[in-house]
Symmetry: C2
Subunit: 162 residues, 2 copies
DNA sequence: TACAATAGTTGCACACTTAAACAATTAGCG
DNA sequence: CGCTAATTGTTTAAGTGTGCAACTATTGTA
């Protein structure tokens, strides 16, 4: 831990005090650094945001899901889904079909173009994932994901996801 | 709800596809889960945000730093510092003093109340950190922080910090 | 002395998040 | 059956955080 303290301190000669010892602080930096990179990757190569791709992937894997169901799955409000589905629909990647069993809800499906697009993005996303985390060995990377999953699913938010 | 259950899969039964295999996805969930908890902790016990405490800690460890220097250290725009320092100043925790060597810049210092507050928060923050990450063993926690630091400091953002 | 650069500040645009409200529709219960 | 409560998609508003362009005062430099 002291070796990494030196590493952190050399960044601008500013003392971060206890922040250096708070896991949440480093988790935030790691997420920020990673997300910035991923966002650029998605934008440059596919002109899409990670959030939009997430919806595309969930709908692709679960055809017929309602907007509210997708919102719950990815963890945001159903009102936010309106703009998201609008964007994806406007790009011809997704389709709102009136549900056959409930006239209040829309069943979501990928269009054929959406399926092609998703497959293309998914393949590159996986490659990019391996590329970006190449600062870790394969074993470390695997350890990292394992730890992240446990942190992500700990506490009261666990119920929200499963 | 029974009608929609036919088509809409229950939450636990949603297939997240390739998202489950993307490290950035799990990193985001881990950060969201952690941050939500930390934010509540800071708010409930001290009526402050993690971001404000970060500035308080950096200024406390580096008395006399200018607003721009703090902004660079914590990684956001210097225009954002105005509102942050305003809030901390309004609460009597921080002080803007005109720099003696450069009349353009403000030197930042903790007030005596600010020092007491920071010490109190810092102590509890460390305890809370250990509490929250108790889903990991001490060894795993240490591993986790080590990996996070490497991910946080990898790539072009490293240069951006110094 | 002139010109470029910097610090703090303000304002704006954009995205994201929350919450509230509303119409249409469905579910639950007497 | 009929009434009430709940749910779906949607819109709107408020709050938040971020990035960018200006503006002033001041400093550094040629």
């Amino acid at each position: 831990m002291k070796a990494s303290d030196n590493q952190a301190l050399k960044l601008g000669e500013v003392d971060f005090g206890i922040l250096n010892e708070l896991t949440g602080y480093w988790l935030r930096w790691a997420q920020l650094n990673t997300y910035k990179n991923i966002r650029c990757f998605f934008f440059d190569e596919f002109d899409i945001t990670p959030g939009l791709f997430g919806v595309l992937e969930v709908v692709g894997c679960n055809p017929g899901l309602t907007q509210t169901a997708v919102a719950k799955a990815i963890g945001n409000d159903r009102s936010a889904m309106v703009a998201i589905v609008d964007k994806l629909e406007k790009r011809g990647l997704i389709e709102r079909k009136p549900s056959e069993t409930d006239r209040r809800s829309n069943a979501l499906f990928l269009t054929s173009a959406g399926k092609v697009f998703r497959d293309r993005v998914a393949g590159r996303a996986w490659d990019h994932n391996e590329e970006f985390f190449s600062m870790l060995t394969a074993e470390e990377h695997q350890q990292f994901v394992g730890l992240l999953k446990r942190v992500a699913l700990a506490g009261p938010s666990t119920e929200a996801k499963q």
